[in-house]
């Protein structure tokens, strides 16, 4: 009779946390503090404590103001901030309550944060009584690792998982993958699973990291619901020489004649990069008015604020060790490529970010036994708050919420039986690229996707016609996947990762095709053929799931504005619904 150990090494735990970055470690710590009897295992494809997006992020950490109206003020700001009215405001209200203790909890976990002389986070000047801010050490994950080990949490580094295991009734009961050094199969069996894997984060620029969407893919295949994927492309203005952001410099862009693009095309300053500005930049270059440049000698108010040039050390957006890191990067670039100077040439960079897992206020997905803390659910929980530089706050707060919820669940749950046929099938799928007679490499597909991030007409200024062309490209990419080959753990990972990156790409453009309006900045959904925001017809979420036939299924859901406090001007409660929000 077949035994699970015939397929690979088996690890059991009450709770399995996939992803040992900031949100995964906080989830584990919070769950363990809730119930010290729980056996918790955290796994990561890298080395836990030195990997994770938090070790690359630079934008400090926030918490909701302790002002009595802090939650209400922050909610009012965030609903309007980037993707207006797309938030789940009931989620956001609960989130902001937990977020109030965020920095305090990080200090409790041994994380070094920069605060004022009274050890308090200092209020952000441009969002009074709403959000407070502190810096956080570059070694935040090492500090959390140390705290987790003291609590008795088990850590397993350099294991990459690609699929989730389910019981006969569809509950998630584990995961399967391989170790990144010897390619040995690893099987994980648990009562509850938290996927803290971040999403698909496709870019290639300095100071950054890559995410391929393997967590998104694994959750999609077990039936998790996705949401808001059309808001997945970010655009930023960068130094052409270094390809790193000119924080807050986007209102200061001039053409070769010295004409300011914001004045010429927009007429008022913006607090984020807008599709209109990107459109203007492309137009100027197309008519020969390039190169575009920025005068850093005369910073405007946005540059002074977002560029962080006017802040005291205790509240600056980067902690001292992060400043040292950025300084190092600049010095190296200056040595080999030359200093950017005070009037640098500028261009744009585009990033694909898909973090769409729909979660409830416990950070639990619609799939039994499955949680999704951290960046992977920032679109799906309709928070979007990290876009103002609070990815770290989002990681820790959703970790706190998930830990509080997953601990009692796991304590009350039993181990469901592993389906050996499922393990065999998934193992065969994972290792398939090792045994193919073909010789095609994932780089072929990654290069195709990379071209998208150069082309604003595909990623930022979308149109129905362009999207139809992209569908054809996606089909071409999908045809290559079954011919990909690998010969070591790294190339095997890439073969599996690229398939999930294609999946994420398809989600973006299918939902962008469906949403026939324009909405949002910084992570905009912009349609050249539908350039106006349409609050009459599009106060709706677009949800995505894998249909019963295995095909991608999209459907809309009315945003229940009648239950929410923050509404668009002129909003009328639709027929069949009554006012449900009472202050």
């Amino acid at each position: 009779m077949a035994n699970i150990k015939d397929y690979g090494e088996l690890y059991t735990s009450d709770i399995l946390v996939v992803g040992g970055g900031m949100s995964g470690l906080v989830t584990a710590i919070r769950a363990k503090e809730n119930n010290p009897d729980l056996d918790i295992l955290v796994i990561d494809k890298g080395v836990i404590g030195w990997n994770g997006q938090a070790t690359k992020a630079g934008n400090g950490i926030r918490s909701t103001s302790k002002h009595p109206d802090g939650v209400r003020n922050a909610l009012g700001y965030l609903v309007q901030a980037h993707t207006p009215f797309m938030n789940d405001q009931e989620f956001l209200a609960k989130y902001l309550e937990v977020h109030r203790d965020n920095i305090d909890y990080m200090k409790h976990c041994g994380v070094i944060t920069s605060c004022d002389e009274n050890d308090e986070a200092t209020p952000l000047p441009f969002i009074p009584d709403a959000l407070d801010m502190g810096g956080v050490s570059i070694n935040v994950c090492a500090q959390l690792r140390s705290f987790a080990l003291k609590l008795g949490i088990r850590l397993l580094s350099r294991v990459n998982v690609f699929e989730l295991l389910t019981s006969k009734n569809g509950k998630v009961i584990g995961a399967i993958g391989f170790d990144m050094d010897h390619m040995e199969c690893k099987i994980f069996h648990a009562k509850a699973v938290a996927m803290a894997t971040q999403g698909c984060h496709f870019k290639k620029i300095g100071l950054e990291f890559m995410g391929y969407g393997t967590g998104v893919g694994a959750m999609y295949r077990v039936g998790a619901l996705m949401r808001n994927v059309e808001f997945s492309t970010q655009v930023d203005v960068v130094f052409k020489k270094t390809n790193t952001p000119i924080y807050g410099g986007f209102n200061m862009i001039c053409n070769k004649h010295g004409e300011n693009l914001t004045k010429k095309y927009i007429g008022h300053i913006e607090w984020e990069v807008t599709p209109a500005l990107v459109d203007a930049m492309v137009k100027e270059v197309a008519i020969g008015n390039g190169p575009l440049w920025v005068n850093l000698e005369e910073p405007d108010e946005v540059r002074a604020m977002i560029g962080g040039t006017d802040m005291h050390e205790s509240t600056q957006r980067m902690f001292r060790d992060k400043m040292a890191w950025e300084h190092h990067v600049f010095m190296k670039t200056a040595r080999d490529i030359g200093d950017v100077g005070t009037k640098p040439e500028t261009t744009i960079k585009t990033v694909i970010q898909v973090e769409p897992i729909k979660v409830d206020t416990d950070i639990k997905t619609n799939v039994e036994g499955l949680w999704a803390p951290g960046k992977i659910s920032t679109q799906g929980n309709a928070y979007f708050g990290w876009t103002r530089g609070d990815g770290l706050g989002n990681a820790s707060t959703t970790g706190m919420m998930a830990g509080d919820s997953i601990a009692p669940y796991a304590a009350a749950a039993e181990f469901d039986e592993i389906d050996l046929d499922q393990v065999a099938a998934l193992k065969e799928k994972i290792y398939a690229p090792l045994n193919r007679p073909t010789d095609r490499k994932p780089k072929e597909i990654f290069d195709m996707i990379e071209r998208y991030i150069f082309d604003v007409n595909k990623c930022i200024l979308k149109s129905g016609e362009e999207i139809q062309g992209i569908y054809k490209d996606i089909e071409e990419m999908k045809k290559i996947v079954p011919e990909l080959t690998a010969d070591d753990p790294h190339s095997l990972s890439k073969c599996l990762e690229v398939a999930d990156t294609i999946l994420c790409l398809e989600m973006i453009f299918r939902s962008a095709d469906m949403r026939k309006e324009t909405r949002g900045i910084m992570y905009p959904h912009y349609r050249k053929d539908y350039p106006e925001t349409d609050n009459k017809n599009w106060l709706k979420w677009i949800n995505i799931r894998q249909g019963a036939d295995g095909e991608m299924e999209l459907f809309t859901e009315d945003i229940p504005m009648w239950r929410y406090p923050v509404r668009p001007d002129g909003y009328v409660i639709p027929e069949g619904h009554a006012e449900e929000f009472y202050v």
Binding site: I205, K332, T350
Partner: protein, 93 residues
């Protein structure tokens, strides 16, 4: 050891003084992109998957014996504005 990568947007040259590698393996520990590996035969770390480098320099900053020197050759090979502007012209023709 000198290794160059072939990233599409950026190209990088790793200059590694492998004779002085002390074996701390901090580069391997830090790299999120799985660039660095250990050469068992010769007893030093090396950039086995250089194409994955995202130019964060953290391996270099963590290196205990300061033997890693990363040279960015180009951070941006295609200007997205020029590329996009070119496409607009093509579509209009």
């Amino acid at each position: 050891m000198i290794v160059e990568n072939k990233g599409q947007q950026q190209s990088v040259k790793f200059v590694v003084d492998t004779d002085r590698c002390c074996g701390c393996r901090r580069c391997i520990r830090r790299c999120m992109e799985n660039v660095w590996h250990w050469d068992e035969e010769n007893g030093h770390a090396y950039p086995k998957n250089p194409d994955e480098c995202v130019l964060c320099y953290q391996c270099e900053m963590d290196c205990l014996n300061n033997v890693i020197d990363i040279h960015p050759i180009s951070t941006l090979q295609v200007d997205p504005l020029e590329y996009s502007a070119g496409l607009v012209k093509l579509n209009n023709e």
